[in-house]
């Protein structure tokens, strides 16, 4: 299978994204939140928290205690430690972004072809079942990752400038953040997209596919993110281990998606 073939659907999705203005707000909102959330916390959070003041809120107390125990940010001032914590934890957003975007796009991968009546012409080409799954996967995950990485670069750059202004030092992403951004996030996005593609083959309308992605696939991957994502932000090896684990799951999901995307299945089991 040539690289051209794999990138074909990706290019088409990108062209589609470029021309479909209705989905722009969704795509723009995610990176804006990715920038505004840590920025707001960096600028406001330390200012409203006085470590000398007695804390009634147990959640806040727990956070501060964990901050004291966290050896990775030991030795810094309270405000710097809090800022580093905020920057590190905000990396979770960039794990979530590709999952949401890829799952949403993958959920429509097959069902939209059915709605547009382009599925049968595609199936009538020499494209193999496996190539169809991989092309659809790249088409869904590629733009999502691209957008996430562009957003992360912009987001971390803004945060670095803000911390430079606020604290006099530019605080960037941690090693865990980078492992999450480059490995764990993409792996979970691939898993979510494969599950969504397999599901998409069973649906006949976009609404059902979207609902399934929103109510089943994204919540399940959120649990995965909660279990693996947070420790991965602190310890990079958790990120690598999680990536390996999720990749194993991806192999199973790929086989399932491939079964679902067999031509006779697609053409005879529309429901």
């Amino acid at each position: 299978m040539t690289r051209t073939l794999l990138l074909l659907f990706c290019r088409k999705e990108l062209r589609d994204l470029r021309t479909n203005r209705r989905i722009w707000p969704g795509y723009l909102m995610l990176p804006v939140i990715g920038v505004l959330l840590p920025l707001g916390l960096i600028l406001l959070f330390p200012a409203v928290m006085d470590p000398a003041r007695p804390i009634d809120d147990p959640g806040l107390r727990l956070l501060l205690e964990s901050l004291q125990r966290d050896h990775t940010i030991h030795g810094a001032t309270f405000v710097e430690r809090l800022t580093r914590l905020v920057v590190r934890e905000s990396g979770l957003w960039y794990l979530l972004m590709p999952v949401v975007l890829a799952a949403g796009s993958a959920a429509l991968a097959i069902v939209r072809e059915k709605e547009q009546r382009t599925l049968e012409p595609i199936l009538a080409t020499p494209l193999s079942d496996g190539a169809l799954v991989l092309s659809k996967l790249v088409g869904a995950v590629g733009p999502a990752l691209l957008w996430t990485w562009v957003s992360a670069i912009a987001g971390y750059a803004v945060v670095a400038v803000a911390t430079l202004i606020r604290l006099g030092i530019a605080i960037g992403p941690t090693a865990g953040n980078l492992v999450g951004l480059l490995f764990l996030g993409p792996a979970i996005a691939v898993a979510a997209a494969l599950a969504a593609i397999a599901a998409s083959a069973r649906f006949t309308d976009s609404q059902s596919a979207n609902l399934f992605a929103g109510l089943v696939i994204v919540p399940i991957t959120l649990i995965l993110l909660a279990v693996l994502g947070r420790p991965a932000m602190i310890w990079p090896w958790v990120g690598f281990g999680g990536t390996a684990l999720v990749s194993l799951g991806c192999a199973g999901l790929y086989r399932r998606a491939r079964r679902r995307l067999q031509r006779d299945e697609l053409l005879t089991r529309w429901r």
């Binding site: 051209t4 073939l5 074909l8 088409k12 062209r15 589609d16 021309t19 479909n20 547009q116 009546r117 382009t118 599925l119 049968e120 012409p121 595609i122 199936l123 009538a124 080409t125 020499p126 494209l127 193999s128 079942d129 031509r263 006779d264 053409l267 005879t268």
Partner: protein
């Protein structure tokens, strides 16, 4: 060549196609006629390797079916399909759509642009190449779909209801393009329920209603009925008995200016009848053998089907 041998397919135990056998030699156009749900699309899907048959076998463009996945893929590279609905991406332009499908068919990069331009020009879509497909008229959409079906130069082309939903002018255009493809020597299987389309284009005709009810060369199916129709100007009532007196004529019926002669041997009777009618003062306007219409054959076949 397309050869089907006892091809069958059922869905959840319900038969959609039963023991269909036919042969379309290379370069011939076969029209498969049948009402909605007769199994035409299922046959096309089986012959393209998209659906495995429940029974029977086939050979299309040198590939035997049922086949392995690799063989099915190589068959699809050698065959083209025009579906009932064009099936393109509305937001992409006509040229972008062709580029996308051309790559799926594995047309080499260096040839793709040249072929796309040549076909778009040939089918009068060159000026609209950069317009979004969604803005095309129905006729333009179907012409673009026809390009997709043939621009990888397949030996066999399947056309599933190519003129469905088109206005008469657009349908005419598509029919003339199909005629051109046939002249280029491609083997074509045309699924339609437009009898006129089959009459105009087909070498072979099959009538399908789950089973193949009739199959044969169009010329054979619509062969002479043993009757001659002669249009004359003159006193038709007086010319009727004149025609009846020609040796070999069993009977004559009169309809306005038309005499229909029931002849024992059409080729023997026709010159004699024409000469006698002319000698009796009739001006001969038209002489032709009466053939069974495709409509009659179709209705007879479908009415007799279980």
């Amino acid at each position: 060549m397309i050869a089907a041998h006892l091809l069958s397919r059922s869905f959840d135990g319900r038969p959609a196609v039963e023991e269909v056998s036919f042969l379309v030699p290379p370069g011939k156009l076969c029209a498969l006629l049948g009402p909605n749900g007769a199994g035409k699309t299922t046959i096309v899907r089986m012959l393209l390797g998209l659906l495995p048959p429940s029974g029977g076998s086939a050979e299309v463009a040198g590939v035997h079916l049922p086949s392995s996945r690799d063989q099915a893929a190589s068959l699809r590279a050698r065959a083209g399909l025009l579906t009932e609905t064009p099936g393109f991406y509305d937001r992409l332009s006509g040229a972008e759509n062709l580029d996308f499908f051309g790559r799926l068919y594995g047309i080499p990069d260096r040839e793709l642009a040249a072929r796309t331009e040549s076909w778009l020009r040939r089918l009068g879509l060159w000026d609209a190449r950069d317009r979004a497909f969604g803005t095309y008229s129905k006729g333009m959409k179907q012409r673009l779909a026809l390009i997709r079906a043939v621009f990888h130069e397949p030996a066999v082309v399947f056309l599933d209801e190519p003129t469905a939903g088109l206005d008469p002018a657009a349908a005419r255009e598509v029919r003339s393009l199909i005629a051109e493809l046939r002249q280029e020597g491609r083997t074509i299987l045309l699924c339609t329920h437009h009898l006129g389309e089959a009459d105009e284009l087909a070498d072979l005709v099959g009538i399908l209603q789950r089973r193949l009810l009739t199959f044969g060369a169009l010329a054979d199916l619509t062969a002479s009925t043993g009757k001659i129709a002669i249009r004359v100007r003159g006193d038709v009532a007086r010319l009727g008995p004149v025609a009846e007196s020609v040796p070999g004529v069993r009977g004559v019926s009169i309809d306005h200016d038309r005499l229909e002669l029931d002849a024992e041997d059409v080729e023997m009777v026709t010159p004699a009848a024409v000469a006698k009618l002319a000698a009796a003062g009739g001006s001969i306007l038209e002489v032709r053998p009466v053939r069974t219409s495709l409509e009659t054959i179709y209705l007879r076949a479908v009415a007799g089907a279980p």
